[in-house]
């Protein structure tokens, strides 16, 4: 049953092939047996899951079940869950149990989904390899010596390992798309404001956006339909109607104009990965789409601008973790200063501290104009690049990440090399555009991701394009060796 996609589970539950309790129990067992090696979950909630599954079965029997009723999912541990520890991958929040649910959690609960637990992640979503987690690194189900990407590495790995058919995730600079690419899953970062940030622990508020990771575009569409929606508690939430994203999956894509930015195929891109992306573009041509070479001239400025803006916002967002009201507090503080210094010094990991320092520096007197203001100007230029591009094309396509999954510890001592992992994904966050990744082949036995960037609120068209590709290809059906080997259990 663990091989089933969300769409298949929806059908199976309705046709009484199995119950929600059955599939929930099976996946919980699988997690218990397999996740020790994978480390994709920080917390599992079996009792709560079975309770929710039982209730879902009753609703299914009564015939008034919402779409995702009884479908098991998992939440990235950045989303607050009422009564369930929400750590954000940090020692700082190892003891934090929120008295409220994130909007995304409420939405999925309202849609009937059953939550199995909370997935591992880079600490405070800061990382591209899931190696900064206080709870240890997550292994890539395609090769346990490789990273699953980050920061939503737990969600991506759990989906790739078939521990859960879909999971929530967040993306500030590529944290949904890059792990999706590295684990052969499909993940989508919506338009900024599509999904409420209420209850989603902030990293960089102007860039953070929640979204789903699953195994197919169709499943992503179902999850996104449930997750999206206006929320008055988030002032940046968009008050726009949410379509059923699954409804347009089968639209004809003949004539779709695909912009291919030349800057996304320059040096630094792994040759094999580049070839797989080119193959995918050819496939789209076969499907009747039209390729248009475009230029996004400010692409090379995205990473530097991002690594000013995101740390600047983070430096303030993380000030609340001060050991005073909740979370980690150092032992026997001598005075206030000591309380602050040691609680934060001991509670945060290296990467988080590095970014707080970088951010505070960029905002400090005398440097603000040179860094923060300049980065905001760059941000506008990058947005402008896309606005112009979308005058000619319907979607933009290119690689998601420059390389397939790298080895554990390969880049941990070289932050800049790690930051460059996000070189193709960051622009969409800076511009606030929706973007997704779907598997389009393999390089050296590891998955390669194709990125689709859409115009504002155009997630439907992106999912349509992704689904049509998945109807014509099998890359999304390729099963990670870890899931396959464990499949017998």
């Amino acid at each position: 049953m663990h091989q089933l996609t969300i769409a298949e589970i929806i059908r199976g539950l309705r046709e009484r092939e199995f119950s929600s309790v059955e599939i929930t129990r099976q996946l919980l067992t699988r997690i218990e047996q397999l996740d020790g090696d994978l480390n994709s979950f920080i917390t599992t909630t079996p009792e709560q899951a079975l309770q929710q599954a039982g209730a879902a079965d009753q609703r299914l029997a009564a015939g008034d079940a919402p779409l995702l009723c009884g479908v098991p999912i998992a939440h990235k541990d950045i989303f607050c869950t009422h009564g369930v520890r929400t750590s954000c991958g940090s020692k700082m929040l190892d003891n934090f149990v929120p008295p409220y649910d994130a909007h995304v959690v409420e939405q999925l609960q309202a849609a009937g989904a059953v939550s199995l637990g909370k997935t591992n992640m880079d600490e405070f979503a800061m990382g591209s390899s899931n190696e900064t987690s206080f709870y240890g690194p997550v292994k890539n189900p395609w090769n346990p010596e490789h990273v699953p990407g980050g920061s939503s590495g737990g969600s991506a790995a759990a989906v790739a390992a078939q521990l859960v058919p879909g999971a929530t995730a967040t993306d500030t600079g590529g944290s949904i798309r890059q792990p999706a690419a590295l684990t052969g899953t499909t993940g989508l970062k919506p338009t900024y404001g599509r999904v409420s940030r209420w209850g989603m622990i902030a990293f960089a508020s102007s860039l953070d956006q929640g979204g789903p990771i699953a195994r197919t575009a169709e499943d992503v569409a179902h999850l996104l339909t449930a997750m999206a929606g206006h929320d008055r508690r988030d002032s940046t939430s968009l008050d726009r109607p949410v379509p059923d994203f699954a409804a347009s999956l089968n639209d004809d894509i003949r004539g779709l104009r695909i912009g291919v930015p030349k800057e996304y195929f320059s040096e630094g891109l792994n040759a094999e990965a580049a070839a797989r992306v080119q193959d995918a573009l050819k496939e789209y041509e076969r499907l009747g789409a039209q390729l248009v070479e475009i230029s996004l001239p400010h692409t090379h400025l995205a990473v530097p601008a991002y690594y000013v803006i995101a740390p600047a916002e983070a430096s303030a967002n993380l000030s609340r973790f001060d050991g005073v009201r909740y979370g980690y507090r150092c032992e026997n503080p001598a005075d206030l200063r000591d309380l602050y210094m040691r609680s934060r010094g001991e509670g945060f990991g290296e990467e988080v501290k590095r970014r707080i320092l970088v951010g505070a520096y960029a905002l400090s007197a005398g440097y603000y104009d040179a860094y923060y203001n300049k980065a905001q100007q760059v941000r506008r230029l990058i947005k402008q690049d896309f606005v112009q591009a979308f005058e000619q094309v319907d979607v933009v396509m290119g690689p998601t990440a420059p390389n397939p999954a790298f080895r554990l510890n390969e880049k941990t001592d070289d932050p800049v090399a790690m930051y460059l992992e996000d070189i193709y994904t960051i622009s969409a966050n800076l511009a606030g555009l929706p973007a997704m990744s779907l598997p389009c082949g393999q390089a050296g036995g590891l998955p390669v991701g194709l990125q689709i960037i859409g115009n504002y609120l155009d997630e439907g068209r992106m999912l349509n394009a992704a689904h049509q590709f998945q109807q014509a290809t099998d890359w999304h059906r390729a099963t990670a060796p870890f899931a396959q080997a464990a499949g017998e259990q």
């Binding site: 929400t86 008295p99 902030a202 303030a316 001060d322």
Partner: protein
């Protein structure tokens, strides 16, 4: 050497909204600690701010009342610093694009002169919580009830030239915010707090001297004293060849001195930047015009109307319009008694003295406007003299009922019976042979003055109740008949 004192004020006014600036928690004063702080106020992870529309309404009305530019677009920024009563580790405030831009108001001074004071800007911001350092055995307690309460910080240009001007400006702000109903203006509860920037320079000098900032002075009287004593300190320092250090100082009311607060600390770098959780707020012309239409009559307009409509002096009109409740009280007394000038005199005389003595505000006055109007009516119709009226007023203040009841029960009705008065006068003249003799021998010019003695004696005999005009007339006739 003649010195000039230069003062600019930063005044924090707590807005009278039901809920906080970015959360739905109540702003009510005096609740048990931490009972009015929700997850947002506690800066729980994942919580987000949502701006309070009513706070914007208040701020815009204030700006309109100050003849100020209204920020069509205003932006909240984060001011970063660590303190236990600041849960997020930053204060959400406005800096580059505030809700209220430059403006100007007129203040009126006791000598009858007035001057313009320019407003630099006013911005919306959230208040911090309170740190409590007593009763926690070497630790501190944190009360976050106040955290997130909406404030407007009103920043003046350095246009004030004396402690008295600073107080007049502060009183003007107080009257504007209370007229608008956007704050209770209660300084004792911290609804209005004042920081004063004070510097001195030689008269005629163009450059401003080095300023110090006196923090959190919380009454009109202390503002006046603190500025005076700080200006004197700076002048003494400079005259002795010293220099003023730019620093924050605290006013100690008990010792009547200011002292350095944190001179050892290095300058804070607050690392302001626009708050990414909040979008810029854009206000439409229609909205602003609608609020302009909702503005109540403001103190200056009311004062001008009192002068023209009731014939009051500019000073009286100004005094009576400083507070909206006071002005309302006056209009009731003037309307019901038909005697605006007497109403003004009584309010600024006996009533002001009574309230001052009992430390009560006008809305707690033991004598109601209706009662005072009744009293004035009895003076005007001759039932009682002004002198007796004071007795009646005191009795009303003691809760003995309205003027008619007091006059009746105490038998204070004025004696206007000619026969009775004549009899009393005859008795006084008969018993004052020596004074009568002096009167007869005195110069014509001195006689009116000498009559005072006889009037006093008659008054005494009548226990103050004889009609003074009648005494005067009859007495003069009788004395003159003796000449």
């Amino acid at each position: 050497m003649e010195w000039e004192v230069v003062i600019g004020l930063e005044v924090h006014v707590q807005l009278a909204t039901e809920s906080k600036l970015f959360s739905g928690a109540s702003t009510r004063f005096g609740a048990a600690p931490n009972t009015q702080a929700c997850a947002i106020d506690l800066a729980m992870p994942g919580t987000l701010p949502v701006p309070n529309k009513e706070a914007f309404r208040h701020a815009v009305m204030f700006g309109l009342a100050m003849n100020a530019e209204i920020g069509r677009r205003s932006v909240f920024e984060r001011k970063n610093y660590f303190y236990p009563d600041l849960p997020k580790g930053y204060q959400t405030t406005q800096l580059a694009e505030p809700i209220v831009g430059p403006g100007e108001i007129e203040i009126h001074l006791e000598d009858g002169s007035s001057r313009k004071v320019r407003l630099h800007h006013a911005h919306l911001e959230e208040d911090a919580g309170k740190s409590l350092h007593e009763d926690f055995h070497g630790m501190s307690g944190i009360d976050l009830n106040r955290a997130g309460t909406p404030l407007i910080e009103i920043v003046s240009e350095p246009d004030l030239r004396s402690a008295a001007e600073a107080v007049a400006y502060l009183k003007k702000l107080h009257s504007i915010v209370t007229y608008l109903g956007i704050s209770d203006g209660d300084m004792s509860q911290g609804s209005m707090r004042c920081d004063a920037n004070v510097s001195v320079r030689l008269k005629g000098e163009k450059e401003l001297g080095t300023r110090t900032e006196i923090k959190n002075v919380n009454s009109f009287r202390f503002v006046e004293r603190a500025i005076k004593v700080e200006a004197e300190r700076q002048i003494d320092l400079l005259e002795d060849g010293g220099t003023v250090t730019q620093e924050t100082r605290l006013y100690d009311a008990d010792k009547n001195e200011t002292r350095s607060m944190r001179s050892k600390e290095v300058a804070n770098d607050y690392r302001y930047f626009p708050c990414p959780d909040l979008l810029p707020v854009e206000l439409s012309e229609d909205y602003i015009e609608q609020l302009r239409g909702e503005l109540p009559e403001l103190p200056d307009a009311k004062s001008a109307r009192f002068a023209s409509e009731y014939g009051l002096s500019a000073y009286d009109a100004d005094q009576l319009t400083q507070e909206r409740v006071l002005a309302d009280y006056f209009e009731t007394v003037a309307g019901k008694s038909g005697e605006p000038k007497l109403a003004a005199n009584w309010m600024m005389g006996e009533l002001a003295a009574l309230l001052n003595r009992e430390e009560k505000s006008i809305d707690q006055s033991p004598v109601s406007a209706e009662q005072l109007a009744g009293l004035i009516a009895r003076i005007v119709d001759g039932t009682i003299s002004s002198k007796i009226a004071k007795q009646v007023f005191e009795a009303m203040a003691n809760g003995e009922g309205d003027a008619d009841t007091v006059i009746e029960q105490r038998g204070l009705k004025q004696v206007s019976d000619t026969g009775a008065i004549e009899q009393m006068i005859d008795e006084v003249i008969a018993g004052s042979a020596k004074q009568v003799e002096n009167y007869r021998n005195a110069d014509e010019a001195k006689r009116p003055k000498m009559m005072g003695y006889f009037v006093g004696q008659v008054m005494k005999a009548s226990k103050g109740q004889a009609n003074p005009q009648m005494i005067n007339k009859i007495l003069k006739d009788k004395l003159d008949a003796l000449l």
